[in-house]
C-alpha cells in the first residue's frame, strides 16, 4: 500500500498510464458516438429517442462507480493516512458530480417524450438526486476548512456515510415500484441482458469511453494537486527562509 503513497512514485505511474487512457478515451468516444448517434438501430418503441440512453446509462454507471471509488479512497485515507488517496478522493468528486448531473439531465430529456413528464419523485430518481447532493456536499465540506487536513478528514467521513445511498440507487427499481424501468444490463439478475446486441455494443463502448475519461481527468487532477502542493511548500520555505 505504502509503495504508492509516495507522490514521486505515483507521478511516474500516472505519467505512464495517461497516454494510454487518453488514447482509449479518444478511440472509444469516436467509435462509440458514431455508433450511438448514427449506426445503431432505432428502438422498436422509442425510435430515435433511444440514443439518449447511450449517454444517460454510462453517466449513471459512472456516477455510482466514481462515488464508490471516492468512498474507498476516503477509507484508505482515513485508516492509513495515505496522502495520495486523499487526493484521489478529492479529484474524483467534481467528475462524479458532473456524471451524475449529466445522468439527471439526459434522463429528464428522455422522460418528457417517453413517460410524459420531466421528473417524478420515485425512489430511483430521488436517490440519484441525493447522490448529486452528496457530491456537492463533499466538495463544499472539503473546502470549508482553513486547515486542508481537517477538511479532507470531514469530507472523507461524509463520503463513507453517503455510500449507503449507492446500493439504494442500484436496487431501488427492484425493491420498490418506480416509474423508472429496471436495469436492462443486469447479468447477475433474473432479467439478464434485455437489450439487443446491436445496442449493447455501442453502449459498452460508450461506457469504456466514460471510464477512460474518468481515469484521464483523475490522473491529470491529481498531478495538478501534487504540483500545487509543491508550490505551497516552496512558498512557505521562501517566506520562512527570508
Amino acid at each position: 500500500m505504502h509503495r504508492y503513497a509516495n507522490p514521486t512514485r505515483f507521478l511516474r505511474i500516472a505519467n505512464a498510464i495517461l497516454p494510454w487512457s487518453t488514447g482509449i478515451m479518444i478511440l472509444a468516444f469516436g467509435v462509440g458516438l458514431a455508433y450511438a448517434l448514427v449506426f445503431s438501430p432505432p428502438d422498436y418503441q422509442q425510435s430515435e429517442t433511444v440514443r439518449i440512453m447511450y449517454v444517460h446509462v454510462p453517466s449513471a454507471w459512472m456516477g455510482l462507480f466514481v462515488y464508490t471509488a471516492m468512498a474507498i479512497a476516503s477509507a484508505v485515507a482515513l485508516i492509513w493516512r495515505h496522502p495520495v488517496a486523499d487526493l484521489a478522493a478529492q479529484c474524483s468528486a467534481p467528475v462524479g458530480a458532473a456524471f451524475t448531473f449529466i445522468c439527471l439531465v439526459t434522463g429528464s430529456l428522455w422522460g418528457k417524450p417517453m413517460w410524459g413528464t420531466w421528473w417524478v419523485w420515485d425512489a430511483r430518481l430521488t436517490s440519484m438526486l441525493i447522490l448529486l447532493f452528496l457530491y456537492l456536499g463533499y466538495m463544499a465540506l472539503a473546502g470549508a476548512f482553513d486547515d486542508r487536513q481537517r477538511g479532507a478528514k470531514a469530507a472523507a467521513v461524509l463520503a463513507l456515510v453517503g455510500w449507503v445511498n449507492i446500493p439504494i440507487i442500484k436496487f431501488s427499481v427492484d425493491w420498490w415500484n418506480t416509474l423508472h424501468q429496471p436495469a436492462s444490463v443486469n447479468p447477475m439478475g433474473e432479467s439478464g441482458i434485455a437489450i439487443d446486441t446491436a445496442m449493447l455494443i455501442p453502449l459498452l463502448t460508450m461506457a469504456l469511453a466514460f471510464k477512460a475519461y474518468y481515469v484521464t481527468t483523475l490522473l491529470l487532477g491529481m498531478r495538478r494537486e501534487i504540483a500545487a502542493a509543491k508550490v505551497r511548500t516552496l512558498r512557505m520555505a521562501a517566506v520562512h527562509g527570508a
Binding site: 422498436y44 417517453m114 415500484n177 434485455a194 439487443d196
Partner: protein, 168 residues
Amino acid sequence: MTRKKRRLYFIGLGMLALGAATALVLTAISDSLLYFYSPSDLQERPVAEGQRFRLGGLVEEGSVQKDGETVRFVVTDLVHTVPVTYTGILPDLFRPGQGVVTEGRLTAGSGLFQADSVLAKHDENYMPPEVADALKKSGQWQHGADGAEAAADGMSGGGTSGQPGPTY
C-alpha cells in the same frame, strides 16, 4: 492493537452499524417509498375512496376504448385488474400491453379509477424494430400472454405478492 488496525475496525464497524440502521429504516418506511400501487397492492391495502394515489400496471390488451378526449382502459398486474377512465392527452408510449402509472381517485361505489394524469412506464427491453417483428413472427414475443408475467414482474418492483381474490 496498532492505531491503523483500530481505525480500520472502527470504520468497518461504523459502516456495518450504518448499513444496518439504513436497512431497518428503509424496511420500516418501505410502503411510502412505493411510487404507485399495483391492483394487487390495492387488494392488500385498500385506499379510502376519494383519496388521491397512483395506480400502476399494464394496460390490458383489448381494453382501450376511446370516446373523444376520454379514454377508458383496464390496468392489470395479471392477478387483479382496475378499470380506469381518463380525459386528456396520452403519452406516446401508451398502448395495450404497456406499463402505465396513473394518478387520481377511486370513484365512490363503482371501483372505477378516475385518473387525472397518465404516465407511460417503459420496460427494460431495448431492440430494433426488425428484431421485434421477428420475435412476434416466431411467437417468442415477450409482451403477449406468455411473457406478460415477466413484464408484470418488472412493473411491480418488489413486495407485491398478489393473492388470488375478488377482482374489481
